[in-house]
Symmetry: C2
Subunit: 359 residues, 2 copies
C-alpha cells in the first residue's frame, strides 16, 4: 500500500478562509498494484488549480449555489491534470495518457470505468464531468492545461466571444488583469482591436499588463481609477473580475450601450458592498450578463483546444503562472491567491503535486 | 391675442419634487389669427402625459443624462396629443389632424414647418422627434395615445419583445403592475404563455392586476414578497419597474439564466439603495439590460401602431387611465403619480388640457 496524501476540507470559514479551513492528511493509502477491471484506471495527479470560485464551495452543504459545496472532511475538488499510471485492458485510457478534469486533490486517483457523478456536480460541470485526454502536441508545461489552456483560459475565451460583442476601436476595461482570466481577456480584447485599460495590485503586475498589450495599465492601490476612466474611457466592455465598490465607480464611466461581463470575485468571501447606481443601466442602456464557464463549454470547447494551446506554445498568447510545490502547500497557495499576494510572483496559481516522470 | 397658459419648470427640487418645482403661468399669449407660411401650423393640445422619467429631467442643465434637463422658467416638455387648428397651405398637417409627439406643456403650440430640434433632444427622442399624425380609426379616447397606445405602452411592448426572451410556461414578475408600463407588460407576458406574478400598492390595484390576467397578485405594502416568490417563483423574467431594496430581494428568487428588464423608477428621486447581491448574476447566470423606449422605436413602431390600438379598442388588451383636468393641475398629477397616490383612481396619469371640440 502507498500513502495517498489528501487535502481535506476541514472547517467552514467565517469570512476569510484560514489555513485551518484545510487539512493536509496522509492517513489514506491506495493499492497501486491492485487488479483493475471494468474499465478502471489509476491516475497520478501532476498539478492542481487554485481558483477564486473555490471559496464559494467552502460553505455549509445546505446552502445551495451554482457549485456544489465541498464536503467536510473529504478532499476538496477542482481542476487538475494527471497521468494514467495503470489501466484495465478495457479502460478508455492508456498508461501514459494525460487527463484533465475535476478531481479530488490527492496524490493518486482511482478512476472507475463508469464514473458516477451526482446530479448537482454534473449540473455544475456540464460536459466537463469526465476526464479529457490532453495530447499536448504543443509541448506546453502541463500546468498550462489548468491555466491559460484550462478553465481560466476557457472562461476568458468563451465569455469574451459570447458576451463582449466587441467592436474594433471600442474600449475594454479588465480588472485583475494579471490573474489567469484577466491575462487571457486582455489578449482577446487586443486581438479584436479594442483599446484596453487594465488594473492590478502591484507595479510589477502593472508592467506585465503592458507586456500583455494593455494600452493603459494602472495600480488600483495607488492610482485613481476614476481619473483614468475619465481620461481613457468611456468603457464599452467591462470585464468585472472584482466587483463591489470598484464596479460602482466603473458604472459611472460606462459608455452608452456598454456590455458588462460578470465575475464578482469580491463577493466570494461574503463581502457585500451595495451598488447604488444601477440606474446607470437605464441611463446608458447597459447590458450585464453573469456566466460560468461550463455554460459555454459545448459551444466553444473544440475551437478552444484547436487554437489556444498552439498560440500559447508559439508565444502568440502570453501567460504567467505561479507555482507552489507539494500538496501540503495548497492551503497557502489558495490563501495567497485570494489575497493577491503570491510569494512566488503572480499569475495563475497552481500546485505541483508530482513531476511527470512517465512522459 | 389669446392667453396661452404654460406649465413652467420653476425650481430644481432637492430630493422629492414639490408643487413649487412648477409654476402654472398665464402671462404668455399667442395670436391664433396670425398669417401662417412656410409649412407652419398651430396645434391646440388636448392632453399631456405625466411619467416617472420626467423626474430625471428636473435637474441642473450641467448634469448630463440620457434625457435633456428641463430648462428653468421654460415650459416642461413631454408626450402630448393635440389637434391642428390652423395650417399654412404648404403645411404637412391639415386642420383637424391629430398629432402625437414631444411638446411643451401649454395650451397652444406654434409648429414651424421645419422643426428645429437641438442635438441632445434629437438623440433622446430618436425617430419621435417630429409630430406623428394619429388617425385613430379605432376610436380610442385620445388619451390612450399617450398611454397604452403611446410611450408607456411602447415601452412595455418593445422592451418585452427585445429583452424578455420569453418562453411559454416561464414565470414573469412585474412590479408596479397597475402603472401604464406594468399593465401592458402583464398582458404581453400572458400573451406569451407565462405565469405572471405582479405587485402594486393597494388592494384595489391588486384586484386590477388580476383583471389584467396576473396569476398571482400581491400588495407589496402588506404582503411578504419573499414568501410569494418562494411559493410561486423562481422568476425567469423580472421586469424591474421599481428597483432598490425590492430588486435585491428579487435577485434571490431569480431562476437560472433569468432575464432582467431594467427600469428603476425608485432611482429617479435620487434614492440610492445599495444592491449587495450582484454575485447572483454569476451564481444564476443572469442577464440584465436597461433600455429607453427610443432605442427600439425604429424597429417596432410600425408593428406597434398596426396592432396595439386595435387590441385596445376591441378590449383584447385592457388599460386604465387616471385623468386630471386642466393644465393647472399637472403639478398635482405629477406628484401624485410619483407617490403612487392618485386621487382619481390609478393607472396612466394624464392631464386633459382641452376637449377635442374640432373632431
Amino acid at each position: 500500500m502507498t500513502t495517498n496524501a489528501q487535502l481535506l476540507f476541514n472547517a467552514i470559514p467565517k469570512g476569510e478562509p484560514t489555513s485551518d479551513s484545510f487539512k493536509y492528511d496522509t492517513s489514506s493509502t491506495i493499492d497501486l498494484e491492485q487488479e483493475l477491471s471494468n474499465g478502471a484506471s489509476i491516475v497520478k495527479l501532476i498539478c492542481v488549480s487554485l481558483d477564486p470560485y473555490m471559496r464559494g464551495r467552502m460553505r455549509p452543504a445546505e446552502i445551495k449555489s451554482y457549485s456544489p459545496a465541498f464536503e467536510l472532511h473529504k478532499p476538496i475538488t477542482g481542476h487538475g491534470i494527471g497521468v494514467v499510471i495503470r489501466a484495465a485492458a478495457d479502460s478508455k485510457y492508456k498508461v501514459g495518457d494525460h487527463v484533465y478534469g475535476t478531481v479530488p486533490y490527492q496524490q493518486y486517483l482511482f478512476v472507475p470505468g463508469q464514473q458516477t457523478v451526482d446530479e448537482e456536480t454534473k449540473k455544475f460541470l456540464g460536459p466537463q464531468a469526465s476526464l479529457r485526454v490532453i495530447k499536448n502536441e504543443e509541448g506546453l508545461p502541463w500546468s498550462a492545461y489548468i491555466g491559460a489552456a484550462g478553465m481560466p483560459g476557457k472562461t476568458a475565451f468563451m465569455a469574451w466571444k459570447e458576451i463582449a460583442d466587441a467592436k474594433k476601436g471600442e474600449v475594454a476595461f479588465i480588472s485583475a488583469g494579471s490573474g489567469p482570466v484577466g491575462q487571457m481577456a486582455i489578449q482577446m480584447a487586443k486581438a479584436d482591436g479594442l483599446k484596453v485599460i487594465s488594473s492590478a495590485g502591484s507595479d510589477e503586475k502593472v508592467a506585465f499588463l503592458k507586456e500583455l498589450g494593455a494600452d493603459v495599465a494602472f495600480n488600483y492601490k495607488t492610482d485613481d481609477a476614476k481619473k483614468i476612466f475619465a481620461e481613457h474611457g468611456p468603457i464599452d466592455v467591462n470585464w468585472v473580475n472584482v466587483g463591489g465598490k470598484s464596479f460602482e465607480e466603473e458604472l459611472e464611466f460606462m459608455n452608452l450601450h456598454g456590455r458588462i461581463i460578470g465575475g464578482w470575485i469580491s463577493a466570494y468571501n461574503g463581502q457585500s458592498f451595495g451598488v447604488r447606481n444601477l440606474f446607470q443601466f437605464v441611463a446608458k442602456r447597459l447590458m450585464m450578463r453573469g456566466f460560468i464557464v461550463g455554460d459555454f463549454e459545448t459551444k466553444y470547447v473544440d475551437e478552444f483546444y484547436a487554437t489556444i494551446p498552439k498560440k500559447l506554445a508559439f508565444g502568440d498568447l502570453k501567460f504567467k503562472e505561479c507555482k507552489y510545490t507539494g500538496l501540503e502547500n495548497a492551503p497557502k497557495a489558495f490563501l495567497d491567491m485570494l489575497a493577491g499576494k503570491q510569494s512566488g510572483g503572480f499569475g495563475k496559481v497552481f500546485v505541483q503535486i508530482s513531476d511527470d516522470d512517465t512522459a
